[in-house]
């Protein structure tokens, strides 16, 4: 347990961007909101509070999305670096001189990339949104007068429930992609990013030129997009709000986990991920380029 704990810490010592980048992004949102909300409410106090509400709500959602995009980039580049950096700086022999199995090491890196890093980003996002709402409430109260915050606490819980659900489902669905990034990271002599992207692209082009089919391209695009069709069903929301009033986000209405877990695509993907990850462990165990 202590070993696992320190394997995770080790990753955060090395990859400080996993927590520093979300903190920087949060500070940017907070600083700009402090500067702008004050400005808007003082100079545009003729704007009705309802409109401001919508504006602030939009800003808050945008802030949340920015953390999602950031965590996607952080995870991709972390996983590409995770097994590459230790070979590049030749510290791998030091790590391997300690009684930690290659499975545990690769497992800790996968866990950091797929669970810990997104959790850090989402937690920072939540704190940022709460802070943004506090700032905007105060600002609006000083300008146009008292108003209702864009999201009730209940709505906020639901939104984050939905975020969490999306993160879990997408994380599981993307597992072969994450595994592929780790495999390339354990394999490439240099520039793992190109190794991750170019071979599939080359095979796609070959396939298209020789057989005039796009099986691999379809497979990959399905892996990237397919989960969204399965995991969410917005039809109920639209039906219940034909006049397009502010949709009441109800987690149970749009989340369809049963469709995801009944899909063979998920389980086949997890199986493929397992094989790919076993390959990454094998490479770390026996790859000898020191």
């Amino acid at each position: 347990m202590n070993t696992w704990n320190y394997l995770l810490r080790r990753e955060l010592w090395e990859h400080r961007s996993l927590y520093l980048a979300p903190i920087v992004l949060a500070s940017l949102w907070l600083v700009s909101s402090l500067l702008n909300f004050g400005h808007i409410t003082v100079h545009f106090d003729f704007i009705p509070p309802q409109l401001l509400e919508g504006l602030m709500g939009g800003v808050s959602v945008l802030a949340g999305l920015s953390f999602l995009v950031l965590s996607l980039f952080l995870v991709i580049f972390y996983l590409l670096d995770a097994l590459y950096a230790e070979r590049k700086d030749r510290s791998i022999l030091f790590w391997k001189s300690l009684p930690v199995s290659d499975t545990a090491t690769v497992g800790s890196k996968l866990f950091v990339g797929v669970v810990l890093a997104p959790a850090i980003a989402l937690t920072t996002a939540l704190v940022t949104q709460l802070a943004l709402m506090l700032v905007s409430s105060v600002a609006v109260a000083l300008g146009s007068g008292p108003w209702d915050p864009p999201f009730s606490p209940k709505a906020l819980v639901e939104i984050y429930g939905l975020f969490l659900y999306a993160a879990v489902v997408i994380g599981l669905w993307y597992m072969p992609v994450f595994g592929w990034l780790l495999l390339v990271s354990a394999w490439g002599k240099r520039s793992p990013f190109l190794w991750a992207v170019l071979p599939p692209a080359a095979i796609m082009m070959l396939e298209y030129n020789i057989r005039h089919t796009s099986l691999l391209a379809d497979l990959i695009s399905d892996r990237f997009i397919g989960v969204f069709m399965l995991a969410f069903d917005f039809s109920g929301v639209v039906e219940r709000h034909p006049d397009f009033g502010a949709p009441v986000v109800n987690l149970s209405d749009i989340a369809t986990p049963e469709r995801v877990f009944a899909s063979p695509g998920l389980w086949v993907g997890l199986l493929v991920a397992l094989v790919i990850l076993a390959g990454a462990v094998w490479l770390r165990r026996f790859r000898d380029d020191t």
Partner: protein, 285 residues
């Protein structure tokens, strides 16, 4: 004497070159063994096989383990320093202590701290802020605080100042080594470790060309510096190797009575370096 390492028929090829060509040897408990060979002789490959870092053919038993199967388990009892620059640059000194303490059941933090206290290393410093000598001291402090049965050192002092190099081996002998431990070391600087070795293993082109204790070397081999006029007389005793120094011939004999050789010139035990050259060049001839 129980064997800490026993290898038999180790073979490993890279393409058409045989890095290890049926290597067999044994290392007993409490020995300090020098694995000596020219570049590309298979030293590092042999060490990597012992440490479970590479695949190979043949039988290899290290402290009862097959290194191919159970590397993580083996590393509880085996330590190694593969080169000086292997500690990651971003690691802080106290993080290194924290990490090794957490993952290694045989690590005694107080021992490492006591050793570091004698150096100029700041526990908050990152590895990248340390000099090369300090990094080695840190690595050595970590390794010496581990209660391991076998310590493997692959060119541990390469790129170090002479002061650090002396220090390295002195510390190792005084603060670490005892009869329960075994050390296997490779180096280009044979002279540096000559006095601390108990055993020699010479390897050349993937084969073991000599396996002997230092005592047996002193008993079996003798070097005689002979004036030119007595050179032919010396050759009668079928020397293993002959070389020229300042116009005199130096002959290396194996298993020849010293009584017989004494009239030829002054006798002495060959240095490891000279013995090595004789062995490797003698084989080639």
């Amino acid at each position: 004497m129980s064997a800490v390492i026993s290898a038999s028929g180790l073979t490993k090829s890279f393409g058409s070159t045989r890095a290890l060509d049926g290597v067999s040897f044994e290392v007993g408990e409490g020995r300090i063994v020098g694995l000596i060979g020219p570049n590309g002789a298979g030293k590092t490959t042999a060490l990597k096989a012992i440490l479970g870092l590479t695949s190979f053919h043949g039988d290899l038993n290290v402290l009862g383990h097959d290194p191919r199967k159970d590397r993580a388990r083996l590393m509880r009892e085996v330590c190694f320093i593969a080169d000086v620059a292997v500690l990651p640059r971003w690691l802080k000194v106290n993080q290194a202590l924290d990490f090794v303490e957490a993952v290694h059941p045989g690590f005694q933090r107080s021992r490492a701290e006591a050793f570091l206290a004698k150096t100029n290393i700041d526990s908050r410093a990152k590895v990248k802020a340390l000099s090369k000598g300090m990094v080695t001291q840190l690595h050595l402090a970590l390794v010496m605080a581990i209660d391991a049965k076998l310590l493997v050192l692959d060119e541990p002092t390469i790129g170090l100042d002479i002061i650090y190099r002396k220090d390295f081996y002195t510390t190792l002998l005084n603060a670490y080594f005892d009869e329960r431990r075994t050390i296997l070391v490779t180096t280009h600087q044979v002279e540096e470790i000559e006095n601390i070795l108990t055993d020699l293993l010479f390897i050349d082109r993937g084969r073991i060309v000599l396996q002997s204790t230092m005592e047996d070397v002193a008993n079996d081999y003798v070097e005689v510096m002979v004036k030119p006029e007595k050179a032919d007389a010396a050759r009668q005793y079928t020397p293993v190797y002959e070389r020229e120094v300042f116009g005199k011939s130096v002959f290396l004999f194996k298993g020849v009575e010293s009584q017989a050789l004494r009239p030829l010139g002054e006798l002495r035990t060959p240095s490891v370096a000279d013995l090595f050259v004789a062995k490797v060049k003698g084989m080639a001839a």
